[in-house]
Subunit: 418 residues, 4 copies
C-alpha cells in the first residue's frame, strides 16, 4: 500500500484531485470562464511505492538562482536515488541550497530523445525531473512522448526555469525575486557613478531576451532609474519623443540619469544599425548585438558628435553576477514548493506535466490549516505535537476511497499539452 | 476637468470600476461564490483635482521594513503637500526608501478622534493616509465615521502594516519578505553555533504574536531548522510526542539542533508555568513572558536536572535587527503598489477603505499591456516612446463616459466595513 | 633533502633567520630599543620532510570568524594528514572558509596534558597546531613542556584566537575585522529604532570582556553612536558628569541616542549594584551580570522613577550573530597568513611558539618582490611565468648554506616564554 | 589662545612634535636607518583658532569607497565652513558616509593653478583639503607653491586617494579593503559560473593599472582563483610554462578554472598583439586595450582554433560596482583617521603635506591610553567620565611649553617634497 510523502497524514492537507485553479482571476463582466489548471499538491493516493522509485534529475541551460534548492528538495526525499548515477542523499544535498549555480552541472545543445529514453529504460529509472527553459521543456515533451510510445511506466515532470519570468501561465518563476534583488546592486552603482560627475549617465543591462520583467521590477524596486527599456515596448533614439531628447532634458534638469535596458530591448534598432553599416568590420558584429554596448556607443556618439554635452557614461553588465548567486529566502520557499509539487505529481502517477507557481492560495489566518504548514512539517520532520484524540478526529474526516491513480491511465499534464 | 495621476493616459491601464477580485481563488466543487473585493488601481475619472489635494500621512506602531517606501510613494506625487505640516516634496523623500524605520516617526498609544478630525478640518486636509496595524486601522475607522458625520469631503485611506502578515484577507503584507530574508541571518548563526559544539542547541525567536508566518517561511527558506513552534499549532514539552523527547532524539542523531519559535507560541504553556510558580518572584514575570527566554530556560532545566546530556544552548533574538532594516526589492515593489493604489483610491473619491495586496493579477506575456508597466512609467516619468498613431488607436478604445465619482456618495470600502 | 613548502623557490621570498620585528615602532626620543620578535615566514632550510609530517589541529573556546580559514590553510598542504584522526584533505577543506564556525568543533573545559601527549606520541603526530584563546595557549605551553620533557621531536604551534583583539603583542587578531563589520548591523538597527520614536534609546552590547576594541572600532566606523562604554575606561551613572546627565542632554538635543557597551564594561558598578541588593532574589543574579541588560534596566529605572522623560529603550545583543558569520576578505587574508606562518615555523623546526600578525611589512611598490605574492603563488599553485634565465639569476642570489634547523635544538618561541 | 580640536585635553593624547615613524620597520642586519616621517595626530598647540578657519574640500578623479567618510569627517568639525561655497554642516554630512560616491562630485582634467589660488584668496579660505590621486596631488603641490609664493597663510593638505593601493610610502589607502571585499562577489560568481559547466572558465578583471594589490588580495581572500595576473609579474600565453599550458592542465584536472587579471596586467602583450594586427580595424583598438576582453578573446581563440577543448568562458568586469559602494567598517575607520590627521595637521599650521596611514602604532592592552580612544571621544562627543582628581593628575604630566607653530615658518611636509 502506498503512503504519502509528507510527515503528516491528515486529510486536510491533501489536494482533492478535482481541484482546479483558474487562469484568469480578476473577474470581469461577461468574460468567459477560461482555462483551469489542475491543482498541484500531495494526493491521498500515490502511484509509486517510495521504495520502488528510481528517479533522476537533469538541469539544462543558463544558471538561475535556486537550481540547487530545487535539486535539494527533490533529492532530499529519503531513499529515492539508490540506483541513480549521481547518488544524491539527503546528507549530500543538505547544504547545496546555500550555493549558487547547480551541483549537477548544466549544458546547452541538442539531445537525442531515443538514446535518452534507452538510457532511462536501461537504468530502471521511473521518475524523471527535468529543470530547464523553453527548449529543455520541449525536449522533455519529446521524451515524454517517446516514453508513452514505449508504454514505459515512467513519470516525466518538467520544472520550468526562466530567470526572465517569461513563461505565460506561470506567475513567478524561481530565481526571479533573487535576480531583481541582486540587480539593485548594479543599479545603485550606476546611480552613484552617474551622480558623482557632471552629466553622468549610468547604463545597466539586465536579463530578459523576450520580456522585460526583471528590468521592470528592478526599476520599480530601485526608484533610481530614469528610463527602463524593454523588448515589449518599442522605442526610438532620435527625434521628438525619442530617447535622446528625453536624455537631454533629464541631464539638464538633474545633471545625471540612469537607464536600465533589458537584453532583448531594441533588437529591431540594432538590426537596422547593422544593415546601414553593411560591408563594415564583420568581427564587430557580435559585439553590436549586445544592446548595452550598442546603446552606450550610440549615446556617446550622439552627445559627442553634436557637441551637445560632455557626458560621462558608465556601462554595467551584472548578468553573471546575478545568475550565480544563491537564491534568497523568498525564492528558496518557491523552489521548495515547486520541487515538492513535482514530486507529489510524479508520486501520484501524473506524467508529462510541468509544475508552476500561480500565487492563488488564499492564506488562512489560522496558519495550522494552511498547506504551507504541511510543507514545513515535511521539511523539518518535527513531530506534529498533536494528541491521539486530535488525530482520531482528523482521521474521521477521511470519508471516501479514491481510485488509485496510475501512469498507465495517461494523466493529462497540469500545464501544457498532453 | 480631472486627469489621471499616471504619466500615461491610455484606457488599457485604467481599472474598470466594476472589476472585482474574489476572496477564494481555488475553485472547489460546490463551493459558494464568496466575497469579492473592489479592484484597486487608477480610475479614468478622479474626484480630486491634483492641485486641490492637501494630504497627510501618519505612521503608527512598531517598525516594519518598507514604511519609508510607502511614505516616499505617497509623498512623491508632485504638488500634494504644499500645505502639509511636514512638508514632503518629491526631492525630500527621494532616497528615504533606502533607509529602515520611518522618517515620520511613530508612536503607540491612544488617540482622540474628535481632536484629530478638528485638526484635519482646521488645516484643510482632504486626504488622510494612515499606515499602521490593527489598532491603528480601528482608529482610522473611527476617524472615517467622524468625518462622515461632519459631512467633510475628506478621503481616509488605510494602509495596513503588519510585519507578521496576519491580516485575514491580505495575501502579503509589506515588510514580510524582508523580515523572512533577514531572519535567515539569525537562523544561520544559530545553526553555526549549534553545529560547532557537542549537543549544541540554537533557539531563535521570531516575530509573530498571533500567527507564525514569519517563523514558518523563515524555516522553509532556511532548511537548517529542526523544529518550528508557532501560535497556531499548540505543543507540549514533556512526555511522549513532546518537544523534549524530539530534542533528545535529534541531539542523539545529529549532535545539534535549531529551534525557531514565534513570539506568540506556547503562551498557554507559559501562563501555566507562571501559575504553578505562584507566589514567587514577581520581578521575573515579565521575563517569563518572553517565550524565547522561557523556552531556553525550560530546555536547560530539563537537560541539566535530569543529567540527561550536557547541552550548549545559544538563544538569539533578532527582532529589532529585523524590524529596522530597509525593505528589499520585492517589498519595495509591494510598498510602491500599495501606496499608488491608496492614492488612486483617494483620488477617485473612495474613502473609508484600506488597500491590500492580493496576488491575483495574471501576468500577460506581453508586458507592455501589463498594469505594472503603467506603474513603472508613472514612477520613472520616462516617455512612452509611442508614435502619435499609436496614441490615436489607443484613444479610439475609450468608448463611453463614466459618471464622475465623489466622496459625497459614500463610497464603499474596498476591504472592511463601511 | 628538505624543500620549501611554497611553490616558488627563490631566495628573495625567504625570511633570513636573523630578521626581527621590534615591539615598539614609533620612535620616541631616548626610548630604549625594546623587545624584538623573530620574524615569521618561510625559511630556506626546513626541518621536516613534507612526507614525514603527521600533524593535528585543535580548536577551542568560543566561535570566531576565520576559524575555518585557518583550518583550511593548514589542512590544505598536500599530504599532511595521512594518519590524522580527522582526515583533512585539500579537497575536503576546499570550501570551508566560506562557512562560519569551525568544522572541527570546539569545546571548553579542562584538559589532561599527560593524556594528550600520550596520544600525540601513540599516533605518531609530529606537528601540533592549537587554535584558541588565553587558556588554550596556556594549555599549549603545558603540552610543549611535557613534549620537551619526553624529548619528542614534535613541533607545537599556537595560533591565538581572540575576537576581542586583546592580546598584548599582536596588532590584529583574526576575526576582529569581521566582528567590527558585522557589529555595524546591530548599531544601524539600534540607530533606526531609536530614531523612529520620541526619546528613543538604542543599547547595543558587543564582545570584549577585558578590552573595548570591538566596541571602540565599531563606534568609530559607524558614527551613529553617541556613547561607547568599555572596560578600560571607568564610568559612573548618576550625578554631574555621569552617564544619565549626558543622556538627558543628548535626548533633549537630538531626541534619541545610541549607546554601545562592551560586555566587560562597568563590572565594578554591577558588582556594587549587587552588593546593595543583597539578600534579594538569587535567581536574578546571573541576569544582572549581563551589562547590557543591567544597564538597560538602570536607564529605564532612572527615567521612569523620576518621571523625567518617557523613554523608549531597545536593547540588542548581536553576539552570536557576530561570532558565527564567515570571515570577511580582510580576515581571510589574515587567517591565511597566520596559518602559513605557523606551518612555516613548524616546518622549520621551531616549537613552543605562537604566531601573530604585527602589521609591519613595508609594502614595496613593485608587488612582485612582495612576500605576499609568494603567498599568493603558494595559494593558487599557478606557474610563476618566469623564464629559465630569470630563474638562473634568482638562484645566483643564494650564496651561502645555512645550518639545518632542528627541534632538538630547543628553538626559542617567537612570542611567549620558552 | 588656541585649543585642541579633540574633546579631551589630556597630554597623553597629543603627539610630540618630534615623534617620527620609520619607513622600514623590519630590522635587518646592517641596514641603514632610512627615511623617517613626521608622526600625524593632534598637537598641543594649534595655529588656527577654530572660529577663524575657512576651509574647503575638493575631490577629484575616479570614485573610491570612503570618499564621503573623509568628507564627513573634515566637514563634521563644527563651524568650519561658514563661508564655504558648498556649505557643509555637521548635520548635512551626518549620514553621507553610508553612501557610495562623493557628495561633492568629482571631475577629471586640467586645472589653472593661478585661478584656483585667486579664488582661495578672494574667498578668504585658509585651509584647503585636496582628495585625489597622483595627478591631483601634483596639482596640490603646485597650488601649495603658488600659495607660498604669495605668502598666504593657507594650509594645503593632501589626502591621497588610490583604490589600487599603489602609493609607495603609504601602507593602506582608503577604499582598498572595501574593494577587496566587494571583489569577492565577482570572483564567487565567476567560480560558480565556471564550476557549473564543463570546461568552464571565469575571467574577472579587477582594478590596478600599475599595481596588482587588489587582484592579489582578492585572490588570497577568495581561495577560488587558479591564476592571478598582475602588472608587476610579466606573463606569456603560449608555449611551455605559459598561461595556455597551465589552463589546459587545470581544465583537465579540475574541469574549470578562475582567472583574476588586474587591469594593468599584460599591457606589453596587448601592445604586441596590436602591432601584429597593424593596418586592421582601427575602431577595435580601444576595445583591445581592455585586458579582460583581450585575454578572454585570446583564450577563446586558442581553445577554439586548435579544437583543443570546447570551453565556456564567462567574463566579468565588476569595476564600477566595486568603486561605487559605501566603504566598509575598516575603511570607515581609516577614512576617519586620515581626515582627523589632515585636520590636526592643518590646525597645527602644517602646510604642503599629505597624510597617509602607516600601520605602526603598537596597540596597548589598556585601550584607554590608546590614541584611538581619543579619536573616539572626539567622534562621539561623549563625556570622559573622569573625576576631577583624574584630570588633575593628567594635567600634572604636562611639563613644558612648546613654541606655537605657524604656517609662516614653512612647515615641512610630513610625506613628500616641500
Amino acid at each position: 500500500m502506498s503512503i504519502a510523502l509528507s510527515a503528516t497524514s491528515y486529510r486536510q492537507y491533501f489536494v482533492d484531485q478535482d481541484d482546479t485553479v483558474p487562469e484568469k482571476i480578476v473577474v470581469q463582466r461577461d468574460s468567459p470562464r477560461g482555462l483551469h489548471f489542475r491543482r498541484a499538491g500531495p494526493r491521498q493516493r500515490v502511484y509509486f511505492e517510495s521504495d520502488d522509485v528510481h528517479a533522476c534529475i537533469v538541469t539544462c541551460g543558463g544558471l538561475c538562482p535556486g537550481l540547487n534548492t530545487v535539486i535539494r528538495e527533490i533529492g532530499g526525499y529519503r531513499g529515492f536515488y539508490a540506483r541513480n548515477t549521481i547518488q544524491l542523499t539527503p546528507k549530500s544535498v543538505n547544504d547545496i541550497h546555500k550555493r549558487g549555480g547547480t551541483v549537477l552541472g548544466t549544458s546547452r545543445g541538442g539531445h537525442d530523445t531515443l538514446k535518452i529514453v534507452d538510457n532511462i529504460q536501461d537504468r530502471g529509472i521511473n521518475q524523471v525531473y527535468i529543470i530547464g527553459g523553453d527548449g529543455t521543456q520541449k525536449g522533455a515533451a519529446a521524451i515524454f512522448e517517446e516514453i508513452r510510445r514505449r508504454r514505459l511506466k515512467v513519470s516525466v515532470a518538467g520544472i520550468p526555469k526562466t530567470i526572465d519570468n517569461d513563461i505565460a501561465v506561470i506567475d513567478k518563476s524561481f530565481g526571479f525575486d533573487t535576480a531583481v534583488e541582486e540587480a539593485q546592486r548594479a543599479i545603485n552603482a550606476a546611480h552613484v557613478e552617474a551622480g558623482s560627475v557632471e552629466n553622468g549617465i549610468g547604463v545597466v543591462k539586465l536579463m530578459g531576451r523576450y520580456s522585460g520583467f526583471i528590468a521592470m521590477y528592478a526599476t520599480l524596486a530601485s526608484r533610481d532609474v530614469d528610463c527602463c527599456l524593454i523588448p515589449e515596448s518599442p522605442f526610438y533614439l532620435e527625434g521628438k519623443g525619442g530617447l535622446f531628447e528625453y536624455m537631454e532634458k533629464q541631464l539638464k534638469e538633474n545633471g545625471h540619469m540612469v537607464i536600465v535596458v533589458a537584453e532583448g530591448a531594441g533588437q529591431d534598432l540594432i538590426a537596422e544599425s547593422m544593415r546601414s553599416m553593411n560591408h563594415e568590420d564583420a568581427s564587430g558584429n557580435k559585439l553590436l548585438l549586445d544592446v548595452g554596448l550598442w546603446l552606450s556607443q550610440r549615446i556617446k556618439n550622439y552627445f559627442t558628435s553634436r557637441q551637445k554635452m560632455v557626458i560621462n557614461l558608465k556601462y554595467i553588465d551584472p548578468t553573471y553576477m546575478i545568475r550565480a548567486i544563491p537564491s534568497n529566502a523568498s525564492d528558496n520557499v518557491s523552489c521548495t514548493l515547486l520541487a515538492q509539487c513535482a514530486v507529489h505529481g510524479a508520486m501520484a502517477g501524473y506524467t508529462g506535466f510541468t509544475v508552476g507557481l500561480r500565487v492563488t492560495e488564499t492564506r488562512n489566518t489560522v496558519v495550522i490549516t494552511d498547506r504551507m504548514w504541511a510543507r514545513l512539517l515535511s521539511s523539518t520532520n518535527q513531530p506534529s505535537f498533536l494528541s491521539s484524540k486530535d488525530i482520531e478526529e482528523a482521521n474521521m474526516m477521511v470519508e471516501e476511497e479514491q481510485p488509485k491513480q496510475t501512469v498507465d491511465e495517461e494523466k493529462s499534464m497540469e500545464n501544457g499539452s498532453t
